[in-house]
Symmetry: C2
DNA sequence: GTCTATAACGTGATAGAC
DNA sequence: GTCTATCACGTTATAGAC
């Protein structure tokens, strides 16, 4: 039988899990190791026993967070069997579900990169991930065919990420300005799963002067 | 004659200016008052003499930053004489110029709001700013006329902010993944001044099944 | 108003008993 | 492995001379 779901058994995992939650919510500078220990239900000394230092623990967390976040892009963007449009639908569906579950991830990654650009950027080696993907080839082909106009690949990627991720980065603001409670906000996000591909296609395929 | 440009005269202003730069770049938790004092070229004690505490100084800075950032929206969105399309062009032109000059503002505001949602959200009372503006009325009218489809006002505002602001929030990442140096990145941003309105119109006015 | 010196406190990390 | 107690240090804030 497979290993039982380890909720309380492994204290190392308990600490890591607590660290993930607290770091994601408050960022490196604002979290105290005591917060993590408390959230894990263990003593402060144990944290250093298992992970040596706050920094070491943090590196593990941000490393895994970035990796987990990016890995789905790779799978979706490099599938030879799906069209460009289908990839957009898959990306929206997958990432909006993910971000509804863990909305703190983008602002966590972005603000930590701001605080440590040189070190963290390289972990995020997404250059080839985006620009040398099957997706990029399909995109380029449609540009050459004149189907896509007024939109380079890099501008397109900014638009994609902006439409996909920004509503989560700005969620506290959106909730406030739109007077949405948590469930109403979440409904809006889920709605975007079907609307995002529509908007992206409009951006790609519409030509001015119709 | 108007008051001379005060670069060195007023030390209070010197401190405030240094605080703005440092806070914008590193956020509240990661900045030390010593950093600010050093950047201002003054002694640490003077900071407390003028502003009592790090927190008080911070509140002044974030307050003014938010206000400065939002105030142009009000002017542009409530002009009865411009059309919806013209407002989009004005917003893009104004804000992209602003953000090229001060790219740290959005990530600063967003990450500080994350760390203190209840307190800071209310300062950002942009509800009526967006949803009770002339812009909102013009938008609503086009929805009723069937010109705008598959796009509510709140979803539209998320898209607008996402396309406008996200490339600056994610600038370190974009520079890394697109292998752009600073000037190339800036050119891309300036290009968006004319592309943004095009894309927004595509999102608003295209109907599926053309 | 501006400085130096220092107090007061919070936080990361460790020693050492169990 | 896990805990309590404590150290070592950095940072905010203030006292007091000038």
């Amino acid at each position: 039988m497979a290993k039982k779901k380890e909720l309380d058994i492994n204290t190392e995992a308990k600490i890591k899990n607590a660290a993930k939650n607290v770091f994601h919510k408050k960022g490196f500078a604002a979290t105290r190791t005591r917060d993590i220990a408390e959230a894990a239900g263990i003593n402060l000394a144990l944290l250093n026993y298992y992970f040596r230092s706050k920094e070491k623990l943090f590196h593990i967390i941000i490393q895994e967070t970035m990796q987990d976040f990016m890995k789905s892009f790779h799978g979706i963007f490099n599938d030879e069997k799906t069209t460009l449009d289908e990839k957009l639908e898959l990306v929206a569906s997958h990432y909006i579900d993910l971000l509804v579950e863990q909305p703190d991830i983008p602002i966590f990654i972005l603000s930590e990169i701001r605080n440590n650009p040189e070190e963290l950027k390289e972990k995020f080696q997404s250059r080839h991930l985006f620009f040398e993907s099957v997706f990029a080839k399909q995109f380029q082909k449609e540009v050459e065919q004149g189907k896509i106009v007024n939109l380079s690949m890099s501008q397109f990627m900014m638009n994609l990420m902006g439409l996909l991720v920004f509503p989560f980065v700005a969620s506290p603001l959106i909730k406030a300005t739109s007077e949405l409670d948590d469930t109403a906000y979440q409904e809006q996000m889920l709605q975007r799963k079907k609307l995002f591909p529509i908007w992206m296609k409009r951006i790609m395929y519409t030509k001015e002067g119709n």
